[in-house]
């Protein structure tokens, strides 16, 4: 009954570190691109490093989202709001602003300090997530939870879209300079590879933090809530407190991802807070497998890799990705990560049998409102 948790943590985190190192080389055009026809059919993509950076940012975004979806069993359909808050917070902390609000003149000159921007962005994200969590959690669960989170995300989206004076409106904010951060020489972040390295280091630290949360005693309570809210409650757990805390914690990661995204893109527009972005992380998590730790990150990789390759051959790439996604959800309901886990546990034949059996059902294992009944009497 003794399980070596510590050593498993090191193996997982080491694997993540290795993956982050080789990731750029795996992208279309990279030297380790595994796709057999990459050279023949697609133009070699000069921007593969940038694509890898994009993957990292979304991997972090999806991983945080999955703390709620996969681990707590609650589907937020509005997590792009935290990404947008992190991104706009960073952009405004860097560029400053000059606005009139309720008759008073508000001016901020801006600062190039990256950690200052991170502090400001995360403060906004945490405050908003905490307030929302307190409003949403006691009042809703299931589909209503998804709808309410989506509605609040639309609020953020339309503020970004309409409040031109602050946010630049539809065009967003451009010309955001790369940050000054203690320990990083000025100008070093001017290079795409360096931006990747910077993003990878931050993402890795955040992933390690996420791993720690998921595997802590706190994380085990989230799993209990996912499996059976009622049982957890009657054991004495303050279930709603955990649901609020999970909501807030899961907002931090998209917030950090938004911070990285702004520095990487050096511009930001309302898309960051769109339903489209919220939906993408749902898709990435399901593609990669919501019940495995690394699943959402794998999903982010597959999504962007696919997007990049398919958009090279057809302008209907969103439709193509939609089809791939649908096929995946039907054939591999536990995602890529879950598929690997099943193969390891039950063998490849059993997994294939299930894929091709007519009785294979779509089962995301998200806890339902009713307790899972072991056996009816």
């Amino acid at each position: 009954m003794i399980r070596p948790v510590a050593s498993k943590a090191w193996i997982t985190l080491l694997a993540v570190a290795v993956a982050f190192v080789v990731l750029p080389l795996l992208m279309p055009g990279g030297t380790l691109d595994l796709y057999p026809f990459a050279g023949a059919r697609f133009p070699v993509h000069a921007g593969f490093i940038d694509l890898a950076t994009t993957v990292l940012v979304f991997a972090l975004f999806a991983l945080g989202f999955n703390l709620l979806f996969g681990h707590t069993g609650e589907l937020s359909f509005g997590h792009s709001m935290f990404f947008a808050l992190g991104a706009y917070g960073t952009a405004l902390a860097t560029k400053g602003f000059d606005i009139t609000l309720f008759g008073s003149h508000l001016v901020f000159a801006g600062s190039h300090d990256g950690l200052f921007a991170l502090f400001i962005s995360l403060s906004i994200v945490l405050l908003w997530a905490w307030a929302l969590g307190r409003i949403i959690v006691p009042r809703s669960s299931g589909i209503y939870y998804s709808m309410i989170t989506m509605a609040f995300a639309q609020v953020i989206y339309f503020i970004a879209f309409r409040w031109s004076e602050l946010t630049g409106g539809e065009d967003g904010l451009q010309g955001i300079s790369r940050p000054h951060i203690i320990g990083i020489p000025d100008g070093w972040l001017g290079d795409a590879t360096h931006v990747y390295v910077f993003t990878a280091v931050i993402a890795f630290l955040a992933v390690a933090g996420n791993y720690w949360i998921v595997h802590s005693k706190f994380g085990s309570v989230l799993h209990a809530i996912r499996e059976n809210k009622q049982r957890a409650r009657f054991l004495g757990y303050d279930v709603n407190k955990y649901r609020v805390n999970a909501f807030v914690l899961s907002a931090i990661f998209p917030g950090i991802a938004g911070w990285l995204w702004t520095y990487f893109q050096q511009s930001i527009n309302p898309d960051a807070g769109s339903i489209d972005y919220s939906g993408r992380v749902v898709m990435m998590s399901l593609l990669g497998g919501i019940n495995t730790f690394a699943g959402p990150m794998i999903g982010a990789f597959v999504y962007w890799d696919l997007q990049n390759r398919v958009s090279g051959i057809t302008k209907f790439w969103p439709a193509a990705i939609g089809i791939v996604f649908a096929i995946f959800v039907i054939l591999a309901p536990r995602g890529i990560g879950g598929g690997f886990e099943d193969i390891r546990r039950y063998g490849i034949q059993a997994v294939f049998r299930r894929i091709f059996s007519k009785s294979a059902r779509i089962e995301t294992e998200v806890a339902e409102e009713l307790p899972t009944h072991g056996a009816a009497r």
Binding site: S220, N228, R233, F234, G236, Y237, D238, H373, A375
Partner: protein, 251 residues
Amino acid sequence: MSVDYAFKTEHLTRSFSGFKAVSDVTIEIPVGGVRTIIGPNGAGKTTFFNLLSGLLPPSSGKIFFDGKDITNLEPYKRARMGLARSFQITNIFAKLTVYENVRLAVQAVHDGTASFFFPSRTKMGDLAGKTESILDDIGLTSVANGLAENLSHGDQRRLEIGLVLARDPKVLLLDEPLAGMSPTETHATVELIVRIAPGRTILLVEHDIDVIMAISTTITVLQTGQILAVGTPLEIRTNEAVQRAYLGGHV
């Protein structure tokens, strides 16, 4: 405990769209012993448990536990006061391991008083040791690493009793713990209930008349949401109203 009742209800009523499942129940349940509640299907036994444990709010009336008015207290707070319940339909973490089920129940004792990010052994004690001793108590040590959903029906019911025991509760509400069990499982579970009974008050809903007569301190008969009779097994056995209404002369 400053009072000599485990539970007290005053005019407790719960209706479902006009139909009174529990109707004006005023009762004091003394501390200690196995207090069995019997009654025909639909008598309101489970609804009564749901009111006591906080799963359902009452339509009117009051509930007192350990001297305090808990009528509007949330279920998790009642659990923390030492009130634990099992459900008529097995209610466990089906997709977690048996070990993890019990471990979560043991950990729950410390929710609100210890940090689950930086767990301290001085505050929480030996969680693993306590988990293993409960697994031993309910006889599930050998299957601890399997998923709870793969247990036999009887073992799942015993697991739920294990979850309920983790907090070392003063009062246990057990809703038909023997339902659907084989004779061997029934025997082992009755023995378990008798073993954990000293020092606690057990409210038991059961249909198995032999078991009821053997282990009950008192029996409360519920019919159409109202109390028909309260007494020792012998008194209930010879109570005419009960004979007519419920036991139908079988005893």
